[in-house]
Amino acid sequence: MTQGRCPSCGADVEFTAGSAQVVVCGHCQTVVARRGASFEAHGKIGRILPTDSPLQLGLEGRHQRTGFRIVGHLQKDHGAGPWDEWYVEFDDGRNGWLSESEGAFHMLFDAGVEEHLSLSDLHPGQRLHLRERAWVVEERGHGPVLAAGGQLPAAVAPTQAPYYVDATGPKGAILTLDFGTRDTDPEAFVGTRLKLEQLGIDTGQLRTRARRKVDLQQARCTECNGPLELRAPDKSLRVGCPFCGALLDVSRGKLSFLRLLEKPDHAPIIPLGARGTLKDTEWTCIGFLVRSCTVEGVRYPWEEYLLYNRSQGFTWLMYSNGHWVFLEPVAAGDVSLVPMVSAFFDGRRYKAFQNVHAVTETVQGEFYWEVSAGEWAEATEYVAPPYSLNVDATDDEVTYTHGEYLTPEAVKAAFQLPEVGPPQGILPSQPNPFSGSVKSATLWSLVWILGLLLLSGLFAASALDKVVLERTVTVPAESVSGAASAMSFSPPFELPKRGNVKVDLSASLNNDWLGIQGDLINQGTGDVVGFYEELSSYSGSDSDGAWSEGSPSASRTLSVLPAGTYVLRTTASFEAGAPKARTFNVTLTHDPPRGGWFCVALVLILLGPVFAFIRSHGFETRRWADSNLGGE
């Protein structure tokens, strides 16, 4: 510990942190540096502005089992309101920086200079590999140190506006590149994203929230004097007046008029101030945006509702044509991306669906960034229904949000909304209502096919499949076609049981035809089952080459015949002409296996999944017809 007096005002100043090189005098805000045993004044710095940060100088906490103490405080501003950074000293002699952003904390440690890295090479959304890790640049900005307090490792220069680049890696890793006023060789700070409860700080030590919110909770519009109920006054930077459309700035703790905006042509579906429970959290709707994109000359608008919960922070509900999507911010470093092709996040692959130039048209309610009408972003959507991954990129920043499709009924129930019209069209991340039926139909088809195989196996095994008659019939040359002279009777044969009979006929023909009338005559009952087949074979050649037609063989299955003794009578029909003998072969098979019906049953069973697939595929085709990134 080193004690002394401020060279400017003489007040007591004290160095307790071994790594601190300067201390800010609590009386006159002089930056006091120690040079050996003496102190030097290094100009003045602004006094810390009250914010809603729960931290304060002197707090003690634990990180990765090592205690730390907050010894210094910086406030910076890159034009969107101040943020706090705390200089901490660990019990093991290390020191680091604890920065805050929208309710999240980042514990960062100096990792040395990253040589040969240029600011102009780093852009939001860009992926880089540093310190053996993959990172994604989320933000690039610059802004001076406005205020300081406590002990710091180096002097601060409020007149300078240093450049910085923030990037995220997987699993909460954070990288900040501090370029200072240079544009190369930044100082790298690597750390982890943490929640307040992970800092190991006794809640009794935490600072109570600033009274800023009390002044703004019941404010009035500076243009129309309409009452403005701010529901997140300690976080809001902009407010859109719902009465006159004025856009007001609240970043400095009081309302100031910025510009008059066009009011939305309809009231928000979720009224500002409405509360609803989604994902086991009670949210308050505090902001309403209308954004749009124009594709091939057609404007496509949608609405975004900003939801706020004191402990969870901010999230979004997007509304488009009756569809709702719940959007939550995610770290860019947790997403693997092939731009405009696919993304991989949390074990799921997302396909690129669309890329549009999104413009904010109208604004109502409160927002935690300096929103303005006309602000734009390149919005790319990747989908894995019912989920989506959205990348919004501007020149200075890229934000990633993870979306989940919600049914209109779920949102209606959560916020007690009146009836809204049914959803129109297909939202990119809308779940396919028919995909479940494809799986179900396929599964059941497999079950039935298994049953079919078992049944057909049983029938095949039990089939007699016995040749009961096989003969060659010769029709004498002098026979008359279709007459008794062309008839032939087989020897009697037995059909030992009731069953089908398969008839196979063949003949050797040369540019000729032969008709065969067959009659199976039950010798006991006199019942006759008759059939007729015509065999033919013609061939020749012409200018196109050789040709042939007809079939010299035929086969058919007769219906069930009772058991008994049968005789096959055949009667030949043929072309009248020069007499010639004709010969044909006939084979009768009793109780043959009948595979034809197996095929018919199989086709019918498969109709279910085929129909379900056609319906599901039709839905996907209609979905991807709206994609401007190549489709599936």
């Binding site: 007459a483 006759v528 059939f531 007729y532």
Partner: protein, 53 residues
């Protein structure tokens, strides 16, 4: 829809057990009572449809 496969299976079993052959193109007839039998007891019936186109 899932029970449709079961219906198909039942119909398949019925068709197989009954031996139904709707496309056999066969014709049923009966030998007249006055047809004589040959030496081996075979009905020598020369009537009925004689075939042809």
């Amino acid at each position: 829809m899932k029970w449709f496969g079961g219906v198909v299976l039942v119909l398949y079993a019925l068709v197989m057990m009954t031996g139904w052959a709707p496309f056999s193109g066969e014709e049923r007839d009966k030998v007249p009572g006055n047809v004589r039998r040959g030496p081996s007891g075979v009905l020598l019936w020369t009537g009925g449809f004689q075939g042809g186109k």
